[in-house]
Symmetry: C2
Subunit: 364 residues, 2 copies
């Protein structure tokens, strides 16, 4: 799409002319592509998800003419049951990105700055700009870890991804609890998009901390990135703020297919647990294999790894992998510009990655 002229931009709201939108990992349509760039699950969703949508089509397709439940009560209940909380503690949205956007609007437009790590989900600075939220990035320590002591300063909110992205490193629950205790008047958001691959969830702390909000997604551990369902768990006084924002923006964000499919996913806990365990095992094997090739891999609790090779430039590696039909994520950003973020795939996909590295790239 060609850029529009300054003359044409007069129609835009002035602040929108300055926006620097988020750039998602690319979704190219290339044959025989090995796509390890957007942290999608290599395994399909539960067969019960497919069955639930088939059921809707066979017995209730005419209901597509009707609006969905604006509160998605059935979905909130399914999430509440799986998470062991009351459904008044659940908010749902059109992917965790929409949930995060509502979180920024609902809690972080404050006189004091929002704090988040300098290296983290790159949508956080985009939301800050979009909602005109003053924010302050806190540097990860030299091991690329979050040190909660560094957050010991005046703030209007804190958001941390746990495990963090793209570093893959998890923060122990005890550290999160220290953060919650140190900032009793700030909302502390723990973005747990990747938590099901081995980190400790803060959902267990929700009933004890009135300032805690946990955000999760069905996109990664439930293999439903194509569905767009995310959610937040917190005490009702925080959920109510999200509902006020949501109902001032879009009354019906989750369609009938997405509700039916996500409910079925939350009801099939065995499938979910088995697939998460599989990804964890595959990840550990991939880390060992890449380490054997000389890569330095950060300790991952996510469905991706963050790795650098002391003898090879990361941008070059990404480019060469791409020429062999393998896409990984590269961030041209200070401190992490020698790292690659590689999604955990199947063992067969890993073998292709390792063979390509060994036979065509690392030997040069």
């Amino acid at each position: 799409m060609s850029q529009c002229t300054a003359q044409q931009q007069r129609f835009w709201s002035p602040e929108v002319r300055q926006l620097e939108p988020y750039v998602p990992g690319e979704q190219p349509k290339i044959d025989n592509l090995l796509k390890l760039n957007t942290n999608e699950n290599p395994y399909p969703p539960s067969p019960k998800v497919v069955a639930a949508v088939q059921q809707l089509l066979q017995h209730d397709a005419a209901c597509l003419r009707l609006y969905p439940d604006p509160d998605a009560s059935a979905l909130k209940q399914a999430i509440a049951t799986q998470q062991g909380v009351d459904s008044t503690h659940v908010f749902v949205g059109n992917g965790s990105d929409e949930v995060l956007a509502h979180i920024f609007k609902a809690f972080f437009r404050q006189p004091r700055p929002l704090l988040y790590p300098d290296i983290s989900y790159s949508f956080y600075p985009v939301y800050s700009q979009f909602f005109a939220i003053e924010s302050k990035m806190i540097a990860l320590n030299e091991h690329f870890e979050i040190d909660v002591e560094d957050y010991q300063q005046a703030n209007g909110g804190i958001i941390i991804a746990n495990p963090n992205a793209p570093t893959s490193i998890a923060l122990p629950l005890q550290q999160i609890e220290r953060l919650l205790q140190a900032h009793p008047d700030s909302v502390v958001v723990i973005d747990e998009a990747y938590v099901d691959f081995g980190a400790e969830s803060a959902v267990s702390l929700v009933t004890r901390y009135e300032n805690l909000l946990v955000c999760q997604t069905t996109s990664k551990s439930r293999s439903l990135a194509g569905l767009r369902v995310g959610y937040a768990i917190a005490q009702p006084h925080l959920i109510q703020a999200l509902e006020a924002v949501k109902n001032s923006f879009n009354s019906y964000p989750i369609d009938r297919f997405a509700i039916a499919a996500a409910v079925a996913s939350f009801q099939d806990q065995d499938y979910f647990a088995a697939r998460c365990q599989q990804v964890i095992e595959d990840r550990e094997q991939l880390i060992a294999q890449l380490s054997a090739l000389g890569f330095e891999v950060l300790p991952s609790k996510a469905n991706f790894i963050f790795a650098r090779h002391p003898a090879h430039d990361a941008a070059d590696l990404a480019q060469q992998l791409r020429e062999h039909g393998i896409i990984v994520r590269y961030f041209n950003k200070a401190r992490i510009d020698q790292f690659l973020r590689i999604t955990v795939g199947t063992p067969a996909q890993h073998q292709r990655l390792l063979d390509t590295l060994q036979q065509h790239i690392l030997k040069s």
Copy 2:
């Protein structure tokens, strides 16, 4: 959900404490309910919609693990083909409510006030408050019509629903063209949620007016309220502003089911045209029947009618209909508090409405 305390509200962004969210028409779960309150289509969507989703489930269900196309290119192309525009002229979103929200942010945060009718879609003032947009309501004339001369004043944008809701009255295309010519530096948004039931669409003007943006939805005329797909049509320099806003908010708003289903709907133009024609005929008959019972019905080009009875209080009528399991929409608002908004249903549904009115309500 109980209200939270002022003490708990300290966590909310200050402005969010003031929000007055939109209240959608209720979606009650009552047996034998006749639901004429949310302008849903009484007919199901095209069978090709169901077939397309079945196809996805049978041959491509594993793809649910992958993010959808963030640009929904296939859907934009299907809409462009049906509307006779280039796909660079199309923006898509999670229902036309999300599209409208992005429109308010993209264009209407201006030094001068946004103008819209005093009686119109009740989400407009909600968006204005949500995005802190100064707005000025322009009174409908004594016939509940929009008079474009009344908009002849300094403004930072104009939004008009055509046909207007809840009045159901359409504005002729010639009047819209006068508005476009009179305000060459303002974005003029025509919200055409109901246009397919007999009004003239402004899409035909898009290539000639760089300040025109038309918004439509699949929820009404395509019987897909359960799906959440809305769209905007305008020249690329306006579409680009919407994309910048969307990509600062949520990269993937439309899920794989919704894309597949909506594409199939736009490809089945015959079914669409036949159902719209049916609704128009049913509406005309309903208007005649209600008029025969003494109702005064505004001239409708929508899939709902707006009617008052000189001898019966509208709130009472709504309440009595409800006691007979029939829900219509009542707005307790100056100037229109003696009207009922009644969705066009099937002839059988109309008969039940008419019988109930005649036998149980109007006689009293």
